[in-house]
Symmetry: C2
Subunit: 140 residues, 2 copies
DNA sequence: TTTCACACTTTCCTTTTGGTAAGTATGGCG
DNA sequence: CGCCATACTTACCAAAAGGAAAGTGTGAAA
């Protein structure tokens, strides 16, 4: 009942050009993968970390995915990778300013999720109840 | 050269409890899929849209994924679904306030992408060049 | 009677994702 | 000599994602 009827357009921000649009989509897809944000979070929280340490802080990630994620982030300029010439090898990962900024940008989503978690749970429950005994389309 | 050395911790925002952490991760994973954000964008830009219209505005989405995405968004309370009892059937989709807020929250990422698109392209190009003739680990 | 519009649903099948586990390279130590 | 640590890489395989296309239901129009 608290939901007002609304059919008007609302802008989400600055206008988007078609090419930028495509680029942003691609970036969002990349960034929205399960691990990238968690790696950013780990590095932002703990500062410089070595390969294995990143994996530990993130938790539940396989070596393969950790390598892949870090490599991609390095390519995109989100992290720096520093090899210390010692044996056994030490490799340090660190957030770039750009990577840190991305983390901050994502904070908005984090806060949103926090704010609406109750509402989401409620909505899902209601939807489940409704779905139990209702057809999707009913004409007249 | 413009990148300063940094090994200090930096906070991304409010502290996170372990359980909230997991919940928020799940929500972000759901929300951050390829299509959800694009549907939000379409609805925020154009206002109320019918099923087929959403698909057109989003572009490149299959019926199957459109249905699935809209259903999920409806369950989560991001959109409302209104069936007009006419034949052939009309179904209208509209952003809820919560959905719109999510769009706004995601704007930060959008802006980030816009700001750093050049830097990303450059970083990728350099990475490609470097990768062409450099081993990943080299001791002493 | 066939056709059409619309919003799906379903089936089939290919592509992608991602985990597990084993392998690689290096040099110091016992 | 074999073993260790570290940061990967590779091969194999199972599961999930997702596209294409055909089918569904309704009533009006041709």
């Amino acid at each position: 009942m608290a939901q007002k009827k609304r059919t008007t357009k609302r802008s989400l921000g600055p206008e988007t050009s078609p090419e930028l649009d495509a680029l942003v989509r691609e970036i969002i897809e990349r960034v929205a993968d399960k691990w990238t944000m968690l790696v950013i979070e780990a590095l932002a929280e703990h500062g410089t970390l070595r390969f294995t340490a990143v994996g530990e802080k993130v938790g539940g990630i396989s070596q393969k995915m950790l390598t892949k994620t870090l490599r991609q982030m390095e390519a995109d300029g989100l992290v720096t990778r520093t090899v210390l010439p010692v044996i056994p090898p030490h490799v340090e990962y660190d957030l770039t300013d750009m990577g840190f900024e991305l983390g901050k940008a994502f904070c908005g989503v984090w806060i949103w999720a926090e704010k609406y978690q109750k509402a989401i749970a409620k909505s899902r429950a209601e939807f489940g109840r409704r779905a139990a005994a209702m057809p999707r389309v009913r004409a007249l």
